[in-house]
């Protein structure tokens, strides 16, 4: 007896659906403990074997060990060869027992002094047939009680014979969430030869009355039938699925003599050879419902989401349990999708941190939590509560961009359910899929995604009546979904959906005339308006960039945005998302954005490559690369930047641009105008539906007075000097440092030069000029312009081009890194031939040389002998800063070159008049 008492602290735990047994007797052993017999029986109330899915059958697990004869200290013993230490039984997935409806037996009642328990009759949920060796040897039938327990286990059962008390504690297996019972450290005080445990399908069924144990009785006496107050509610339930393959049980047993050396047996059939193939799934009720409420009914707003999936509970003892949920597919309406605003500051949980397949506590970072989950199941007294966490991109069970985990701690186990977030890459439509859910019942699963400005979802941008459609598949009918549709009306703040009125901001950091200063352009779009599709900016006249010495990103690299550092000229910042806290890219600590100078693109001589690493929070979507063609207005040299379409969706996440900010900040790259007149950055901003708006921002630089203006123009005639000769004219303009650029130039030739009307022959039409198809005969000269902004001078032919003036215009087509056209109007002023360049680009030019042909192509004819008297031209130049510069330079000719020589000049190939 004393030895039996010592067993008490070593009582075992066992499981709800599986059984753990405690050995009571020591047995000498020299070999591993092996089961001599094992058996499982599932029977209906009428005694037939049960394979009906979801049925509440009576469950019996029996096992025995071999009987061997041993002699110890002269005493002969018959018993098992070794003393049983642990016995475990793994139940098939989906098989469970539910202790919640039943009364419990407290520890005080179970372990009370004396020979028997004081457990209430209503707490009996089965019986045990014991065959013991030793002092209490023989066969005994005792009650199996539903014991009260702590929060660390889901249930506990126990039986007692005299002083030997056995506890059976279930645990939930990680992974398939099946039930396994584990009996550990069984006592060696008494030998256990055989055990048969009976779990009743419906403990309250009167047919068990003869198997109930009276209070204050050591065991069950069948002749003393006893009623019970236990409800007639199911305790044990068969699996609810009917897979094709048969299920099986697995039993493990080891001994004190050889701990850890298990005898493991698969039990694919019952004792009568019937496989565990469940059937009759069509008989199980399945009536799920879903209620989904967004956190806001405002259009185009970040929103949380409250989802409650409910399954009608077990229908009680009379029928079959409701089928369990296997898979859910929640299909959100078009427009309701993942919100980029949620990503900032978010973390993600790796597979290792989650520890799928284990009961270890997850170690997900706090930042990965995006909601709460509460699961109320009839199997447990308290609901499971936990977190919804974001999974690491791609490194998740679905290898998907987006996935979540539901993590909730249960008594003695962790529920870890991965869910896939499937975003349509074209539309962003969101589906949330949970598959292979535990084959266990629950009443409600409540997912509460956090709300507020950084909520994970965003409502549709347009008001309307939407629906969240959910397909719920059961284990009983895994291919036949029950469709649940939940209306969702978005009916607040509907006005913002259609407008498009983005704001443009632009300016330079150092608004001083002629200075080199970073340039910033920003487009701001109001939340709720149509999204931005394309951007086109035209910079103010004179706002230029120095390309001299700047590396150009090779075209082979530009497409992928992998440009060399030397070609970087700035950065870009974008703000995307909805709500009060949109996502700013780049995020701190993430890869920076870059603006690179690249070569020709879409007919433009240069381009910009904007590379925005789409990295935010735990996500990395690679680089967003947007090319922008850079053209120059050939007349004004205004920079025209025209972007490609901006990406509207990335990995299924719609990109709502709130701000697009371009900073051209390469030192000494951008150059300010030298005019202090008010100018403007103009733009054409196109929305996704093609709406175009043209916001502009006035710009103005100052301190123009500090700029000088004193360009020098030299005019040289070459060729015949006699009257009627057709000279060649070379005009050379030079400028000094820190000078304003030229705005207007008028050159009036002296009366010694007339326009030779007979030489005005072929004229390039404006259409031909625009197409760069001027006839060769329309070329009357050549021009070359040197600018500090470019590596090479611009140069090209000088044409006579048709105009709306009395005479054709004299147009220099300057080609090179950019094409520029300089157009001069020819007229007469004070009887002299005047050429006026009304629109000279506000661009720095250090030297400009214009050469008009002589001879037969000369537009000039000497009206007198040039060597008889000196002649001067009249030059009037206006600087971009408004300063006027006049000069009357002498016409340099060969007379001066041949000082004291003859005046014949010569060289003019044209005929004299």
């Amino acid at each position: 007896m004393i030895s039996v008492r010592r067993l008490l602290p070593r009582l075992l735990t066992a499981a709800v659906g599986a059984l753990a047994l405690v050995g009571l007797a020591a047995a000498p052993a020299s070999a591993n403990l092996e089961f001599s017999s094992l058996g499982i029986q599932l029977r209906e109330a009428d005694g037939t074997y049960s394979r009906q899915a979801g049925a509440h059958s009576d469950f019996n697990f029996s096992f025995a060990f071999p009987e061997v004869e041993t002699r110890q200290e002269g005493v002969q013993n018959i018993g098992p060869p070794e003393a049983m230490k642990d016995v475990e039984l793994e139940l098939p997935r989906g098989m469970y027992a539910n202790p919640q409806p039943f009364a419990t037996c407290t520890p005080q009642q179970f372990t009370r002094e004396g020979f028997w328990t004081a457990c209430p009759v209503a707490s009996q949920i089965g019986s045990v047939d014991l065959t013991l060796t030793g002092g209490f040897g023989g066969k005994h039938k005792v009650a199996l009680f539903n014991l009260s327990h702590g929060p660390d286990v889901p249930a506990r059962f126990g039986f007692r014979y005299i002083f030997a008390m056995v506890q059976i504690t279930p645990r939930v297996r990680p992974g398939d969430y099946g039930i396994t019972s584990a009996t550990t450290n069984a006592s060696q005080a008494e030998g256990i030869q055989a055990v048969s445990l009976h779990l009743w399908g419906v403990p309250g069924d009167p047919r068990h009355d003869e198997e109930r144990q009276h209070v204050n009785r050591p065991e069950i006496f069948p002749e003393q039938a006893l009623g019970t107050e236990a409800p007639r509610t199911a305790f044990f339930t068969n699996p609810s699925g009917c897979p094709d393959e048969a299920g099986s049980f697995t039993a493990h047993g080891d001994s004190w003599e050889h701990p850890g050396v298990f005898d493991t047996r698969q039990l694919p059939t019952d004792e009568e050879g019937n496989p565990f193939v469940w059937e009759g799934c069509e008989n199980q009720p399945f009536d799920p419902s879903l209620v989904a409420k967004p956190g806001t009914y405002r259009a185009h707003s970040p929103t949380g989401l409250d989802v409650v999936l409910a399954v009608a509970p077990d229908d009680g003892a009379g029928g079959y349990s409701a089928a369990n949920v296997k898979r859910t597919v929640v299909d959100f309406p078009q427009g309701m999708t993942v919100s980029p605003s949620a990503v900032a500051g978010l973390g993600a949980c790796s597979e290792a941190q989650v520890g799928l397949g284990s009961n270890d506590a997850p170690t997900c970072p706090d930042g990965s939590k995006i909601g709460n989950v509460t699961i109320k199941t009839q199997l447990l007294g308290d609901p499971l509560e936990g977190d919804v966490v974001l999974a690491t991109q791609n490194a998740n069970p679905f290898h998907s961009t987006f996935a979540i985990y539901l993590l909730a701690k249960g008594p003695g186990f962790w529920l870890k359910l991965p869910g896939e977030l499937n975003l349509d890459p074209q539309t962003g439509r969101l589906k949330v899929i949970f598959d292979n859910l535990p084959e266990l019942p629950f009443e409600t699963a409540h997912l509460d995604f956090r709300g507020g400005p950084t909520a994970p979802l965003v409502t549709p941008s347009v008001c309307g009546n939407y629906a969240i459609r959910t397909e719920v598949f059961s284990w009983a009918k895994p291919t036949e979904p029950t469709v649940v549709s939940q209306p969702m009306d978005i009916n607040e703040d509907c006005a913002g959906g259609g407008g498009f009125n983005p704001e443009l901001q632009a300016g330079v950091a150092n608004p001083v005339a002629g200075a080199r200063s970073p340039l910033t352009i920003k487009v701001h779009r109001l939340d709720g308006e149509q999204n931005i599709s394309r951007l086109e900016f035209t910079l103010p006249e004179g706002e230029l960039a120095s390309l001299k010495g700047v590396a150009v990103c090779p075209d082979s690299l530009a497409g992928g945005g992998n440009c060399p550092v030397g070609s970087q000229v700035g950065i870009a910042t974008t703000t995307i998302g909805t709500g009060a806290f949109p996502l700013v890219v780049p995020q701190p600590g993430k890869a920076p954005t870059a603006l690179y100078l690249a070569g020709p693109y879409k007919g433009a001589p240069y381009s910009l490559v904007t590379t925005v690493p789409a990295q935010a929070g735990p996500f990395d979507f690679g680089d967003i690369v947007v090319r922008t063609a850079i053209n120059l207005n050939p007349v004004t040299t205004q920079v025209i930047a025209k972007s490609d379409p901006l990406p509207q969706i990335l990995e299924g996440v719609p990109i709502s641009y709130r701000d697009v900010r371009i900073e051209v900040q390469k030192p000494d790259f951008t150059v300010n105008p030298t005019s202090c007149e008010q100018r403007a950055v103009t733009s054409t901003i196109t929305s996704i539906d093609g709406t175009q708006v043209h916001p502009s921002v006035p710009t103005k630089v100052g301190d123009c007075a500090s700029l000088n203006f004193g360009p020098k123009l030299a005019l040289r005639l070459k060729g015949g000097t006699h009257r009627g000769d057709f000279p060649q004219l070379t005009a050379t303009l030079t400028t000094g440092k820190k000078e304003a650029n030229i705005a207007r130039v008028a050159t009036t030739l002296p009366h010694s030069e007339f326009l030779e009307q007979g030489h005005i022959g072929t004229i390039c039409t404006r259409v031909q000029f625009a197409a760069k198809q001027c006839p060769a005969a329309s070329v009357y000269g050549h021009a070359r312009a040197f600018t500090p902004l470019l590596d090479e001078p611009l140069e090209g032919p000088v044409y006579l081009r048709s105009s709306s003036h009395p005479l054709p215009d004299l147009v220099a087509e300057l080609n090179g890194q950019f094409d520029v056209e300089l157009s001069g109007r020819i007229d007469s002023h004070n009887q002299g031939i005047r050429t006026t360049f009304e629109t000279v680009p506000d661009a720095p030019v250090t030297k400009f040389v214009l050469q008009l042909k002589g001879g037969k192509k000369s537009l000039l004819v000497n009206s007198r002998n040039l060597c008889k008297a000196p002649s001067r031209a009249t030059i009037r130049m206006v600087g971009q800063n408004g300063m006027l510069h006049k000069e009357q330079p002498p016409m340099q000719d060969r007379c001066k070159a041949k000082k004291g020589g003859n005046e014949k000049g010569g060289g003019g190939k044209g005929a004299r008049r």
């Binding site: 009307q757 004229i763 259409v767 003036h805 054709p808």
Partner: protein
Amino acid sequence: MRRAGLAVSAVLLFSLVAQAAAATDISRDEYRERVEPICKANTEANERILAGARNRVRAGEYGKAAAQFRSAAKALKRTRLQLLAVPMPAGDEPKLSEWLDGVKAEVGLLERVGQALTKGDLYAAQKLVVKLSTNANRTNAGVLAFEFTYCWFQPSLYT
């Protein structure tokens, strides 16, 4: 041939009428004051005469367009006769004579454009328009120093 260009060119042709005028001691400014109203009237008349000619050429109604060009030629011819009647500054007689010759050539070219259109020969009409433009530029260049406001051709509108 660019039909549109052809039509537009005709619209804005000014007409010049002239009578033979002997050189006098009239100043260049006085001469300009006397001829400019003549040119202005022709310009306005031609706008009426040639209204819609461009569209007719486009529509293939060459006959009607041709008639408009012939009318424009007549108007320019009358204008030239009026201009010839204005006395010329003594020193400018060669230039102005050359100018009026250019106007006469323009009259002839307009008539030939009309004839080409009557035949439906657009290629010929196009070539004539180029000549109209070149002749107009040369004619304008000869009187550049007179700084006329109305008495010049606008050749860019031929093309």
